[in-house]
Assembly symmetry: C2
Homo-oligomer: 228 residues x 2
């Protein structure tokens, strides 16, 4: 098909398709004459992945390019490694330096800063998983726990175990389709599923919070409510 048909079939505006080609995200079509190039199903599939990545807030073009390159060259890594690298190119990026800066400038005044990734190490043990300091989510978790403790909120390895109990089934369900996919499909699915379902999960959590907060606050309380 011609580039105009590619735009029509995928619902991506033609100028946007051309932009993706210029940025090297979408390969050029095969030239069939001086003025025409032919596009195939590979292009429309790729374009759908690019469009989905483009909808992720805070994902720069450079990171999109990185993710697409990992998908294209997955056999340099192996499937699991490729999935891990591709997911690691997704937001959040800022957490590590921020939280570490917080520790250094004394935002947590109680005692010396903990040895690196101690919180994550304890939490991962409580979750019953294998500790891998190189996996980006490990550092994300350590930074997230540091921020929780810095705000004076409660956190122990037991808290990790409790969250794990709720999230285990959810994560297992999400991975279920992977074995029936090709390597390429499974890496695309890992990237898109990881990032596009994050806001779904967080929105449902906020809706459930309100439901339970209404129940908790508006129910006639057993104990008299503390007043300010």
């Amino acid at each position: 098909m011609q580039i105009s048909e590619l735009a029509e079939v995928t619902g991506v505006p033609l100028p946007t398709v051309k932009f993706y080609i210029r940025e090297g995200l979408l390969p050029k079509g095969t030239p069939v004459s001086a003025t025409r190039a032919e596009y195939g199903e590979g292009h429309s599939d790729r374009l759908r992945v690019i469009s989905a990545l483009a909808s992720v807030p805070g994902l720069p073009i450079a990171r999109m390019r990185e993710i697409l390159a990992i998908i294209d060259n997955w056999d340099d890594y192996g499937v699991i490694e490729a999935m891990g690298h591709a997911v690691a190119a997704l937001p959040p990026y800022a957490a590590p330096s921020d939280a570490r800066r917080g520790r250094e400038d004394g935002a947590s005044p109680e005692g010396p800063p903990p040895p690196q990734l101690t919180y994550a190490r304890e939490a991962v043990a409580a979750l019953g998983l294998t500790f891998d300091p190189e996996y980006p989510a490990t550092r994300q978790l350590d930074d997230a726990i540091t921020a929780v403790l810095g705000a004076g909120l409660a956190w122990t390895p037991d808290t990790a175990a409790r969250y794990g109990a709720s999230l285990r089934q959810l994560a297992e369900n999400e991975v279920t389709p992977v074995p029936s996919m090709t390597a390429r499909q499974s890496i695309e699915y890992a990237v898109l599923g990881t990032t596009l379902f994050e806001p779904v999960i967080l929105a449902i959590r906020r809706l459930l919070h309100r439901h339970f907060a209404e129940t908790a606050v508006e129910a006639p309380s057993q104990a008299p409510r503390a007043t300010e």
Copy 2:
């Protein structure tokens, strides 16, 4: 105490404390002489909340000011409404316009755009919750589902019910401490707990994904794996 003691006690650097005062986030101390002001426990409590908000990636000063104003004036709203408004001032902000733009420029070519919040309405019904189109998380959920469908990933109201089943206990546990708190404490807890535990949840989910993906991909597969 003097402002320098306030900085020491809270672990917030003195220039940062002064910045928060200039920005109107932290009230000035009570003047006790021409050159000295006295700071109390109210100031150190407030400073801890400000520090925690400052650690939230993508939360602008203007939104911090808005959240603090809601905490201060909670009785203009009632506790539940104040919690909702304060949580609504947290990121994400970009999703609504982005996703809606996606629909308008034809990113979802299949049929006409759905009536507003249809996806969220169906999902909220499947979750067994009360539909409130004005609650910000409702729109967040609708936009998130729109992005999932736009990427060609599977979604039905049953999917919402499945996520709800996993997240219900998690959200209920998180709300448990609320009834024993003062109104101010519970709104602060809602804001900080909502935002600071989001990266914890997402990091644990990513760690569990890897665990289950390794199991799924590396286990000797029953069916021969599809190849590209």
